[in-house]
């Protein structure tokens, strides 16, 4: 009897603490997301049920371009970023001088607003920029880096620059969680450095690596900022991202289409997360 009254009190308290957040979260996220699902199946003129929004979306060449660019950007830049930041973290985790200063230096790009650095990227990659000056000095012909097939490469570079510190922090934390005894025991059993790296470090770092991959994928969707700030609203075809497409849909007030794009993307993200978490679980049970 007493217990029941106590838990009812707790329920009431929980609701009280939750109320402000839940009200706003429902109002600005949950309810309107439900609405956008509904819109995505609605005919623009009559309002009846239809699949034509999805059909038009998937057949539209600019959506296809944006989706494939975004996909390829993520597929190429995430592995590069993960490998580079893992190598840095491994180096930084050994005996080095100025370790804390170095870590600060690697994280700093993360807090520098993209907008503040735009000019530097232009100075480097413009038609009259430094990179082209160097190219011509060595007898190569110049490239219009931001307005050619190379634009994707520039954006990958900017993405790695920006996000490397975030992943280094996560990897370093993961590395410090591996108990020293593992290495000592392996050393006693005669394992060499390579064996230790693969047998201990990388194996026990796997949960961290899954997390780093997830965060890197999420951050790769934010690269629109860099793209927009460096190349404007109408960039080269190669770096026309999903966000550019959706901005245009917002501007033309095509709510039905933008809704179906959001729903499709939410589905893809959910699928991706499901796969990531599943593989992690399988991997973990295999490790134990």
């Amino acid at each position: 009897m007493k217990l029941q009254r106590l838990s009812r009190k707790e329920l009431l308290a929980a609701f009280g603490f939750l109320a402000p957040s839940l009200a706003g979260f429902s109002l600005f996220y949950l309810i309107p997301f439900g609405q956008s699902i509904q819109y995505s199946f609605q005919d623009r003129l009559v309002g009846s049920f239809t699949l034509s929004n999805y059909k038009e979306l998937l057949l539209s060449s600019s959506f296809q371009k944006a989706a494939s660019n975004t996909f390829w950007f993520t597929a190429i830049s995430v592995p590069i970023l993960v490998v580079v930041s893992l190598l840095l973290a491994l180096l930084l985790n050994q005996r080095v001088f100025f370790r804390n200063w170095l870590r600060t230096a690697y994280v700093l790009p993360l807090v520098v607003p993209v907008a503040s650095i735009v000019l530097v990227w232009q100075i480097l990659f413009d038609w009259n920029g430094t990179l082209n000056a160097v190219m011509e000095h060595f007898g190569f012909s110049r490239q219009d880096w931001m307005k050619s097939e190379w634009a994707g490469f520039v954006i990958v570079l900017v993405y790695v620059w920006k996000n490397i510190g975030y992943n280094v922090i996560l990897f370093l934390a993961g590395l410090q969680n591996i108990p020293d005894q593992y290495y000592e025991i392996a050393g006693l059993e005669g394992a060499g450095p390579v064996r230790k790296l693969f047998g201990i470090t990388l194996t026990y770092l796997t949960p961290t690596t899954f997390l780093v991959v997830l965060m890197s994928v999420l951050n790769s969707f934010k690269v629109f900022r860099e793209t927009y700030l460096v190349a404007g609203a109408y960039p080269h075809d190669r770096i026309y991202m999903l966000q550019h497409y959706m901005n245009n849909m917002f501007l033309s007030l095509d709510i039905q289409k933008v809704s179906s794009a959001a729903v499709l993307m939410a589905l893809c993200m959910t699928g991706l997360m499901f796969v990531l978490f599943r593989t992690e679980r399988i991997f973990r049970s295999y490790m134990e």
Binding site: L11, L22, Y29, L108, P109, V111
Partner: protein, 285 residues
């Protein structure tokens, strides 16, 4: 004996070289902000022009150290300070609001029992993991419905109720030992009292971490103002800076530095919280 430190030294040199490379854009901006406008124009006015074959002149040391750009940005033309103020007035309410709302909610998620808790938290988690391209659409629909479009609150309100704060602070709440709370209950403390005197003091580092992380994220925002604010006078400095090359190249470096300085100083003074926040957002809930 020699061999003891030669490998760490080589390793350090390599890492320092990488650090220098990463810091180069920041250093270049700061250095250039002390050049005169004329020197900037002489070095960089050919940017974006395809009809000339003159290269930019990348320079690390100004001819004269001059405060001309800062004078113009901070004193002579109030326009930039006005845009800076726009940024502040968008970001400050989001940070204060989300920290307050999320601290309350995270106490419920982290320390109280109620039916449906884990399912509800899962919804928050999924929302947090969705990219902008997904969440901007519901945000837009509701702002439109409430008539908030083209008003700063269309950005502030979704920001205040963002899921990230709830997620991060819950991680900190989970670290509070339940024994403290049980002991307080024994002494007859109510839940509000427990929240104020036990939970709140113990998650202070978490709130500090949240403030730094939110500041970094929202000070940078580009997507929301582009879609929600049509009025150019309302735009934050981040959006304006994208056009600065055409509009105000001569003073652009000083504007950039003024814009990044609050971020950089906050980071350097609260680096511990920043790192802790990132690490804890990594611990799976």
């Amino acid at each position: 004996m020699m061999k003891q430190w030669i490998l760490p030294l080589l390793r350090s040199l390599l890492l320092i070289a990488i650090a220098v490379l990463l810091l180069m854009p920041v250093v270049l901006s700061v250095v250039s902000s002390f050049m005169t406008e004329r020197e900037i124009m002489a070095n960089y006015s050919m940017l974006g022009k395809t009809d000339t074959s003159v290269f930019v002149n990348l320079k690390w040391i100004p001819d004269w150290v001059s405060f001309q750009q800062y004078d113009k940005v901070l004193i002579a033309t109030p326009n930039f300070l006005y845009l800076f103020w726009n940024s502040v007035m968008l970001v400050a309410p989001i940070i204060i609001g989300q920290a307050a709302v999320a601290t309350l909610a995270s106490f419920a998620f982290g320390k109280l029992n109620f039916p449906g808790r884990d399912g509800l938290f899962f919804l928050y988690l999924m929302t947090m993991l969705m990219p902008f391209q997904v969440t901007l659409v519901p945000n837009y629909l509701m702002a439109d419905r409430l008539g908030l479009l083209n008003h700063p609150s269309s950005i502030i309100l979704p920001g205040v109720f963002g899921a990230f704060g709830v997620f991060l602070l819950r991680q900190f709440m989970l670290h509070i030992h339940s024994a403290y709370i049980e002991a307080a209950k024994m002494d007859g403390a109510g839940y509000w009292r427990i929240f104020i005197s036990i939970a709140l003091p113990m998650v202070k580092p978490g709130i500090a971490a949240l403030i730094v992380l939110l500041f970094v994220d929202y000070w940078n925002m580009v997507e929301q103002p582009l879609i929600f604010l049509q009025d150019a006078a309302m735009q934050p400095l981040s959006v304006f800076l994208s056009r600065i090359q055409e509009d105000a190249l001569g003073i652009s470096f000083a504007v950039s530095v003024v814009y990044m300085m609050p971020m950089v100083l906050l980071f350097l003074s609260a680096e511990r919280y920043f790192i802790e926040g990132i690490q804890l957002s990594g611990v799976k809930g």
